[in-house]
């Protein structure tokens, strides 16, 4: 073989022996941080199975591990649960547009309950403002940055939008790693350990309901809600997608979602779609309900209505 060194565009002169030496050194170096950080939890996270493929015992081990990690990181006792769906329950949500005054109490109650990043800011609920009498289904031209001294403003109405928990969720079909799926009670959830951050689901969602962690979520430890769910409000990673889960940690324990409880005008309704006596069924049967972008065949379980 000729000893002539080939030219390359960068002008680096490298012969075969040096190249092989260098790459061997490089490989060894790249292995170093792994060995340094290779306590059990790092490898456990790396080799963790898909949530739906884990046995009950494996899930419990994972939960214990996360409780330990989060408690150390935030300096207080954090509980991570994986309460399963209640049989015979399909969650539905109602929002009375004739009552909403656009005060954004729901947005910030959600941030506190669900441990969203404060800076960079992530809000799972967006409140849109429309002018009375305009073509208001034109969502792209709605205003979400309104900031008057007092709401409601005359001649305007407001429409909060969050995850619509579709029965036919386009985001789930878009996910290449099956990191997001629809639970038996109808909640679309994300396993933050399987999300690769490709954001295909965000492109697929017609409601802008999915949000991306562009950096590690920044939550002040004293504001962290320590009651968490594996598929819901546990602290997220950098580079994963998150979304409204109807407060899975609350609703699976029988409680109302945080946004329902904080609404000062009682515009938000929640219940079991399969229970004929539930509040949401009353809304659907007695009020003029509609679903957002119904024509897209997503079958949202989020019903907007006008009570008056």
């Amino acid at each position: 073989m000729s000893k002539k060194i080939r030219n390359n565009p960068l002008g680096i002169k490298l012969n075969r022996r040096n190249f092989i030496k260098g790459s061997a050194m490089g490989l060894a170096a790249s292995a170093l941080p792994l060995t340094k950080k290779a306590d059990a939890s790092f490898l456990d996270v790396f080799f963790q199975k898909h949530f739906r493929e884990m046995s009950k015992q494996e899930i419990q081990e994972v939960l214990d591990r996360f409780e330990k990690t989060y408690s150390e990181e935030y300096g207080k006792k954090v509980s991570v649960k994986a309460t399963p769906a209640i049989p015979g329950v399909l969650f539905g949500y109602g929002l009375d547009l004739s009552r909403c005054i656009g005060c954004r109490r729901c947005v910030y109650a959600c941030v506190g309950e669900n441990n969203q990043s404060r800076d960079p800011q992530i809000h799972w609920i967006t409140v849109l403002r429309f002018k009375n009498g305009e073509k208001w289904v034109d969502l792209e031209n709605s205003e979400s940055y309104y900031n008057p001294a007092e709401v409601p403003e005359p001649d305007h109405f407001y429409m909060p939008v969050q995850c619509q928990q579709c029965e036919n969720p386009p985001c789930v079909r878009a996910c290449p790693t099956q990191a997001t799926w629809k639970e038996p009670d109808g909640i679309v959830v994300v396993d933050y350990n399987w999300c690769i951050g490709c954001r295909y689901c965000m492109a697929a969602c017609p409601y802008g309901a999915r949000h991306f962690n562009w950096s590690k979520p920044n939550i002040p430890p004293d504001e962290l809600n320590p009651e968490t769910h594996y598929l819901g409000n546990r602290p997220r990673y950098n580079g994963v997608v998150e979304k409204c889960t109807f407060c899975i940690q609350r609703t699976r324990a029988g409680k109302y979602p945080a946004c329902v409880e904080v609404c000062p005008v009682g515009a938000r309704k929640f219940g079991n779609l399969l229970d004929p006596a539930s509040e949401i069924r009353y809304c659907i049967e007695n009020k003029r309900v509609f679903r957002l972008k119904e024509d897209l065949n997503t079958y949202p379980k989020f019903y907007y209505f006008f009570a008056t």
Partner: protein, 191 residues
């Protein structure tokens, strides 16, 4: 034949024993006059008002020291003349149903610690929803179903209801505007 005729009276007797308590319960249901003196916040809607579910409400939001009204009114001779109040309660501006409403349409002059319905029945302040429901029937219907107004608690269990007056000032029921929480950060402002 003789055997059959002996069985019949026994059968009738048993039927009566079974039916009687049901009739007694039913007549108890229709007795709306009985307003209990229960100061608990648990309301058994089912026993008094069959169409109102069992629910919980916090006590009525009285201004401090205002209740019982009889504390002051006991010694006073009721003046049922429609007038502008000048000695007390001048701070109450009545903006409810225009000029046709006035105090004694809801408040009861002879027993100040009660409200009265349009048919003269006296009700407790903690049952004021019955009073509001006389005019606002559709809202009352929605409220009973849990759709008008705010509910907290459990979606499939114990719920905390609120009286109409917890959200609407009965003298000025329209909602006061609120300051909104800050808008989201615009994408161009993210550093």
């Amino acid at each position: 034949m003789r055997r059959g005729s002996a069985v019949l009276p026994i059968f009738i007797l048993i039927t009566w024993i079974l039916v009687l308590p049901v009739i007694a319960l039913d007549s108890g249901n229709t007795d709306h006059q009985d307003t209990s003196n229960n100061t608990d916040t648990v309301y058994k809607g089912g026993s008094q008002n069959p169409d109102i579910p069992d629910f919980f409400v916090p006590p009525p939001p009285f201004s401090e020291g205002i209740f019982p009204c009889s504390g002051c009114h006991k010694e006073m001779k009721p003046n049922k003349q429609r007038r502008k109040l000048e000695m007390f309660h001048q701070d109450i501006e009545l903006k409810h149903a225009g000029p046709q409403q006035w105090c004694l349409d809801c408040h009861n002059a002879d027993d100040r610690d009660k409200l009265h319905l349009i048919d003269g029945r006296l009700i407790d302040f903690k049952e004021s929803y019955l009073l509001c429901g006389q005019c606002h029937g559709t809202n009352f219907r929605d409220w009973k179903a849990g759709v008008h107004g705010k509910r907290t608690g459990e979606w499939n269990g114990k719920k905390l209801y609120r009286l109409c007056v917890h959200c609407h000032n009965p003298h000025q029921p329209r909602f006061k505007p609120l300051a909104p929480k800050p808008p989201p950060v615009r994408p161009e402002d993210i550093k």
